[in-house]
Symmetry: D2
Subunit: 363 residues, 4 copies
């Protein structure tokens, strides 16, 4: 359904990069949940552009909850969040509107919307819309955390530089740690290397991509569907909605290709409860959670907005042209995107859990 | 919605491995499409177990279309396909029903369905249900082919053995070629190696995984959505519904992580129409098709059914046990799964295209 | 979504009057509900054609549950019901396929399906498909009854003959009573009158319509939505799917038009719990249940299949023709339709209740 | 899905009577439709409270389109409309929040939302939210009108006073006429009578209800579904979402109950195209449009807000109380509700038409 997703709770996303505001409606939330607005601000802050490794467009991103929220609590009605656009320089785009930026949606937008799209700053395709998802996701994360379920994401890879992987024995602490960092990594020695790598790409008028690793703990067993709403299906659907995501995998991911079944299977063991001895399958069997941590890798391509001269076409004249992008752009978006990943994951897991509540325990 | 997927057309999947039949309902198909039943048989044949590299459970998999189909054409009403189950040995499962098979959904099924699931042969989780998806997918592929859109999949990797990659200059021929093979590969020299690898795993009571590569050509530009129904979102949702899939990527996929933006962007060029010079982004920008070939990698984990002794737990007694799986199983499912991938992809692309028809060209 | 309805549970309906079988898939049912197959037979029996007041096409309507049902209990997977078609005389229809029967969907089917529809016996439009809804609805009713919620329907009006109305003080007994009748009325003296009225219409080669009144008791308060899924919205959507239904109202219904607010409002009173002193609003305020009985009127138009000569058009030749319908038809369908109404209502109320379970009581 | 409706286009409704704003998101609109903002203002004006027969709460109801709209045209992205709330007197409600107003949703809101609802002025249940539906509906009506499809509604009945019925031979002119009236009736002599009736009820501290009659012309044949999305199903679902609607019927409606089939059937006749000689079935056969005018009756109960003393209960103390409602209320809402009916109908018919475009004419 285009700008909507979800079954028991849903998100409806609207707005464009240079319109008056962007926003999102969360429908289906339970009544009576106390929202921590300060926490929303903290989550929004993780997505903000800061320093030389991000765009110089700085937006306040003040979150207004205009419905479904009364005296500090959710009401159970549709909850809508608005974020005003302020720091727009729309004139930057008018003169180049027909020059198709490689790697961007300019061409496909013309093909789909026949020239009626708001082309300014990427319009409805802009990564700016993910600000709304972070605000909505923060509420979902708060609800999950009230049930002891936590999610966290770090930059596993930036270009050729690798961070450590999550350590399944220490996930709670690692999740807490990365959730308090501006630049979320597990091995602090890698931070400078990664930042230098990004800055160097920026100084070369270029950009870099990488891989985000996400962990979720304490998600209960028995949630998800064999067909078609497996946990992997629901989460990948959400993650591939984030601009620039081109790969998603669970547990061993593409590494499963070169394993034998005897290596890939996770043996069961009973201690005080049934668990698996290993967790190659990342807490999911047959599309359904088994209570072990869920682990996800999300590949983010390099930002398509680079300042190098590129070959392109003018959509109106059909002439081949040389294009040099103007404006303010991110040489890397991984450090800003990770909280978007957490938000998408939190929404998906909350929605699936509510689906389970609908028919679970009925008889 | 659990066993349903799709917006303008939908699939509803039902049945269990050892019940009387399995089936699927395709709703929303246009009226008046002439179905080639022989083609359905051919597609079904690609999924059939053959030789030593597959399970010894052989099913006829005769497809009966019981509704929505009249005098050779779709009627426009819900089209339901039934496939009888015949070669079942349900007694194999009764005695081991509480012994949780590692890598399978036995444990999660108990957690979700509280012991009421049909446990025989994996029940509703069984890969057998994908037979229905192939039958439904065959109809979708036929409709797409009537519009000149083709999809094909080959075994890019089986354990450590690599096939060649699709050659974008020769995709039509390669797609036709693999669609006529029982064991779909591009480089014929790799066939024996792969088969030996699978047989060796089987003789070791083990199994292997791998990677499937899928290509789609001539899909029109301008289809898909920025949020939340990007082409990647819709296709990954479907692909992760296939049992054993643990990774999905598009174009350069996880390889994007170590590219610079200047390498990852696909420059535009005008010849007789606007195209890209390279196709790292796999025919998709901003979630929307750009008319170039769509290329997908799908990672399939090794079959969890292995004959080696494994550690497990008895769900009822909570005792740790040694488990040796009985029955008939596949040491590798990639050669059977590839047509399931084509089917899922065809369904998703057809549904998105119909969504575009709903509002496209209206004004 | 065309042949599908429902949010937390869904029905998917397929089949045609003269195809091999008709069927329905109920998805989203809880696992572990013990189905009473004998009860399904009883409910199916209420819909069967009997005596001179119904069609002479007699079908066994044997219900086969082919999935989602194991050892007497729901499994939690998609539950599919098949009913074979047996007593078909398809040749009756071939020669008259282009002659549009007034009041039927023949013309609109041609316009929508371009001649590819299965025209035999009304095809997918046939009232015969409601047999599947009764089977599915019986399962929904059983689940509701396990929670003490009961639904029953009687023939409030057949042509000009009126039955008594439900008595809110005696609803449980009245519901039980009508649910055990073949010809469901409250005032036994009216039965003969109504049957004579139907038989007389039949002997005149004509048919009659009427009004069904439905009561639901013990449905809990707090279920439904202000927008857009009010109880009235959900139930009317389902009821207007029944062929021949042309009017639906709740409580005072169209009688509200001539009341003053002071007459229409139901005053609240606290005894052991909060109730209303009257129940003009039929247990629903603002689209949400208030715990009082829900009361519905459903108007069913006269069966369009009459044996009188009618004016019509041949769709192929565009000639104006005189039409005399052949075949076997019902001079009145109210006595058969009432269990379809109960089934639709039960499905809708169960689905809404499950939606409430999804987010209710979460925080 | 709670606050959402629609398949190919959808509406998502949010806001409360006394919150900062109310709003609606229309998703799935085609790109490139030129919106006439002046027309939106005219439609909004029809819903405005005016004179003594309406509430004294006067709102400017200025419509802001904040997304999906660029340089005068729809962009094809989600279109969101915001309407600020200005003339609120929230203090009126604080002191009476636990006193359940008869006929209102106060009690059911407590039961559903556990006291967390925004109770001020009816909160999310308020008829005020229909202002958003009129704004969204105006866009839908404009699109339909660009295809020559028109909808109009008049007050067929206010309490005991009847207006004329639509004359099928003169529908275009009658629709145009009522669409330009503040108080929409066909027989001008009835206007004063109706207004006096309303004023008299108001002076008695009471309120009145009535019946709205709606006509739609030129809607193409072949649109709608036999199950479950009949035109009647889709439209009734929407109409019963309007607060105070308690009955919906099509064509002869409840009058069908006392007709014979030979009277109720509409004979076909070929002139330059196939039509029906009569139109008892209101342009719909088997749930699908036949090209004749669609005619609907919608019963609106008397406004529950009356100033007479009423019996009620305090939800908190459970005491029986005498209640006298304060504030500003409508003694009749029919003249304001009729444009809401047109808006709902326009949305439903546009959505169904787009569904038809999705699969129609594909093969």
């Amino acid at each position: 359904m285009k700008n909507q997703i979800g079954n028991n709770i849903s998100m409806t996303l609207f707005g464009e990069s240079h319109g008056p505001c962007i926003g999102i409606t969360l429908d289906g939330l339970p009544a009576g949940f106390k929202i921590d607005e300060e926490r929303i601000r903290q989550d929004m802050d993780q997505r903000k552009a800061k320093g030389k490794i991000s765009t110089q467009r700085h937006e306040e991103d003040k979150v207004e909850i205009v419905s479904g929220y009364f005296e500090g609590y959710t009401t159970g009605s549709a909850l809508t969040i608005l974020i005003q656009n302020q720091n727009t320089r729309s004139a930057d785009y008018k003169k180049t509107q027909y020059r198709l930026r490689p790697g961007h949606a300019d061409y496909t937008a013309y093909e789909k919307y026949k020239g009626f799209q708001d082309y300014r700053g990427g319009g409805h395709f802009s990564g700016r819309l993910t600000a709304c998802i972070v605000a909505a996701g923060s509420i979902c994360r708060q609800i999950l955390e009230s049930k002891n379920v936590y999610t966290g994401t770090h930059l596993k890879q930036v270009h050729h530089i690798l961070d450590d992987s999550f350590d399944e024995k220490n996930l709670y602490n690692q999740i807490q740690a990365v959730n308090h960092m501006d630049f979320a990594i597990l091995n602090p020695e890698k931070k400078e290397e990664m930042i230098q790598c990004i800055e160097q790409a920026a100084s070369n008028k270029d950009s870099v991509g990488g891989i985000l690793e996400t962990a979720i703990i304490n998600y209960p067993s028995g949630i998800g569907e064999p067909f078609f709403d497996s946990i992997e299906s629901i989460l990948s659907h959400l993650l591939f909605s984030i601009p620039a995501v081109k790969g998603v995998s669970f547990g061993e991911g593409f590494g499963f290709a070169s394993l034998y079944g005897s290596q890939a299977n996770d043996a069961f063991v009973y201690t005080d409860r049934i668990q698996t001895k290993t967790n190659h399958n990342a807490g999911i069997n047959g599309g359904i959670s088994n209570g072990m941590p869920i682990l996800i890798h999300t590949c983010v391509k390099p930002t398509p907005s680079i300042f190098k001269e590129q070959e392109s076409v003018d959509y109106q004249t059909k002439e081949n042209v040389k294009l040099v992008i103007q404006g303010r752009h991110d040489p890397c978006i991984l450090h800003r995107a990770r909280v978007v990943v957490d938000s998408m994951v939190a929404f998906g897991l909350l929605d699936l859990w509510m689906s389970d509540k609908a028919n679970g325990g009925w008889v």
